[in-house]
Symmetry: C3
Subunit: 337 residues, 3 copies
């Protein structure tokens, strides 16, 4: 415990010589495990956990007699403790015998390329990069040091990925955006000649897609965190430290500020500006630019289906209700108040 | 027909010696085909179908003079009949010459591994498993007997898949969840050390993603059916026999009961409980736990765009409308009623 | 400029001998670049662009003194100009040494198959087809001439793809649809024995999924354009020249007309009809068939979160508001008007 407290700058309360050998959740921790309370929903489990120690906020410190790390940010402290027990595995360097490596590609000696990986012409793979099975990296890409590409990631040509970035399986980086011009009832494809620039310390979820720019680049700044199944359109710019939850879609040319938090299944239209520090709730549709940071939501309230049918029909006829109120106001008898 | 009736426990009405050699849809069936009516939308096609026989419910039995199987559940009976005409193809056992098989992996003799498959250390592949081209299965996985992985499925390490489960192309099973802790405006990654446990008879759609647990496992119980492009967050538990339609997202740590039906593009927030037997309509956002089983919906009614603009502006100003009604109520002259 | 005007049938205004060697966006064009103004949001950049020429509509022609191509449809003209500067790269024909080609597959001499591609039995690959690394094409498929499959596309058996169609990375074409029949609380899988027929000049985005038919085919007609992460259910028919933006889901057996435009993250239920020329806004849920072409929208207006909470609670209680207005109307004193 003493070591954990030192490494995380948390305050140690209780026996400092308890031996901790793993992390675990409140409800299934056992002897030797340290657990944490971050979400107040689970506070009642604090009394019954069989963990040997716990990470809590000052507010919850009195609620348990266990040895504890007290910290203003228990989830972040837990993340650090868990990383101590589960350090990143060092990559075994080397190129698998069955890799399609273009003659002009440059791969660092400390990088690891697994089976059935394809690397294009002039692409540069940095130190300690780990590329899992079945990834395809196109021509003229730059993969920064300590990057991890999980299996079956596709990186289109001319994409650049910054150091320490992690890309989960099935993600597609740098495909053509949805650029089509209508003429006489048919579609003409707009060539996508821009690139995709991904910063350092970014994490990209499984099966997420990020399009290249039509002209100019699509940009993800440093420390952007994307969950699974997200779609980012061509020429978007996502500011540093912005986190976006799963199933969210962002249409082309939209600029999202720094330190934004965007909930799951949000949908943001194209050519918009979202300022730094904005919070968008899950399932919210953003159809216009936002001028002022804050938390924004659009979601029809959930109801039992029959009740919803009735309410939805009233919403449809809100104009009528409004007209009826106006008529009542007009017809209101004069009063002396 | 007689054989079909016996195999499906349906009631045979009409000539039992009609020869049936295929299944077909109402509107393009021909001689020798058996068709079915399950969706009342298509009832009018019953009169004009050129099928040789039909599967109907007792309610629709009089609407056709064709030989028929009468059953309370025509769609299920059709599914059984279609399976008789289209049995699962037996797998040709064997490992393709070009498979990257870790030395400690154990593959059953009756299993089939196609080209460019990668199998990790200590992973166990059961009897008659069929792994299509380009799949990547990580270390320490267990793939139960008769499982099918369609092309390019990725299975992260320490994932377990139960017997007879089918996983469609591009699905990603067991990626890290979206666990990040904020500290001083930056994100710290939370290690994902839990696993993913998938039951028996599960089906998982194309490009669906299911994250592993952060601590403890993400669990799909037996006979869960997932459509395409679904996202299931870390530490979710989906109860047995629950079916979820495409594009739905379920955030982390949510528990969905047994025998639930969740419509397409529904979005369910994290840390919620949904009881057994709940029905969630398509496009519905669930932001709070549901206490009682039933059918729930949230969806703004669709309108012609101009009308929508007007209605949406009224919704925005509902507070004003409410205040106006309150003012009218306050100012209402006393009445003798 | 003169050449560009001739090739695009646009009207040349200003010096025709300006040398143009690239295309660029208004805000980062330099000497030698031609740019364009199509979205009025960017009109102010016309005054400050450092491009050597510009493509504009007659309405904007006076707003710049630069040499220009004046055309009723600047975006389409730009698309043509950009294609002149960025012609499609001719494919280097040949089959990579490491391709799993079934003995009965027929591959045109001019086709290009990259590393780790799998081609099934009896499948036909047309002239100048380009199949990138890691694609898996099943048995009995037909891939028309000049088709491009980007890396890791999966094509299930019995799928047909028309000439010049482009499929982006990670797309899954022809997986089983979500057909399950409930019986006694369990699910029976409905065999999917139909096919998938994709027309000519179609474009399909990254990680998009299109299911095969259960009975009969799923059909995409010519010149259909699909963005990324779209889900098309079994037995849908999408009419020619229809364009669908990212993250949209279309449930099974729905028929979408020709020349429709469907916004991002729209969700369309199953068994519906959408007429030719319909426009569906982004994030709109379509739960019933549409009878008349037009633009349709359903979206709860976005609000600051606190305001949304209040408005959402009023929506929930719209029935009460309606009742209160009715009571006021009933109690209204008789008037002489």
């Amino acid at each position: 415990m003493r070591v954990l407290a030192e490494r995380t700058d948390a305050q140690l309360v209780g026996a400092g010589d308890v031996l901790i050998h793993c992390v675990a959740a409140l409800d299934n921790a056992g002897v030797g495990a340290i657990t944490f309370l971050a979400n107040p929903k689970y506070r009642s489990q604090l009394a019954t956990t069989r963990a040997s120690a716990v990470i809590v906020s000052p507010r919850d410190a009195d609620a348990t007699a266990l040895p504890k790390l007290v910290t203003a940010n228990p989830y972040a402290t837990y993340a650090r403790v868990a990383s101590l027990f589960h350090p990143l595995q060092p990559v075994a360097p080397g190129v698998h015998a069955n890799v399609a490596l273009a003659p002009t590609a440059r791969v660092a000696d400390s990088a690891s390329l697994a089976a059935y990986v394809v690397i294009g012409e002039r692409t540069i793979i940095g130190e300690r990069v780990c590329i899992h099975g079945g990834c395809v990296v196109g021509d003229d890409c730059t993969i920064g040091e300590d990057v991890t590409l999980y299996p079956r990631v596709v990186v289109y040509p001319k994409t650049s990925i910054g150091p320490r970035t992690i890309v989960h399986a099935g993600a597609v980086l740098g495909a053509d955006g949805f650029g089509i011009a209508e003429q006489a009832g048919r579609w003409i494809k707009v060539p996508h000649v821009g690139g995709l620039v991904i910063g350092a310390d970014v994490e990209i979820g499984a099966n997420t897609t990020i399009d290249r720019g039509a002209l100019g680049d699509t940009v993800l700044e440093d420390d952007v965190k994307l969950d699974n199944q997200i779609q980012i359109g061509h020429n978007c710019r996502i500011g540093a430290h912005t986190a976006i939850a799963g199933c969210t879609g962002i249409a082309g040319s939209t600029r999202i500020g720094r330190n934004c938090k965007i909930g799951g299944a949000a949908m943001i239209a194209g050519h918009l500006n979202i300022p730094d520090g904005t919070v968008i709730s899950g399932t919210t549709g953003v159809l216009d630019s936002i001028r002022e940071a804050g938390m924004y939501t659009s979601a029809f309230p959930i109801l039992p289906h029959r009740e919803w049918k009735y309410v939805a029909s009233l919403v449809r006829r809100l104009r009528t209700l409004n007209d009826r109120v106006r008529a009542l106001e007009r017809d209101k008898p004069e009063q002396g108040e």
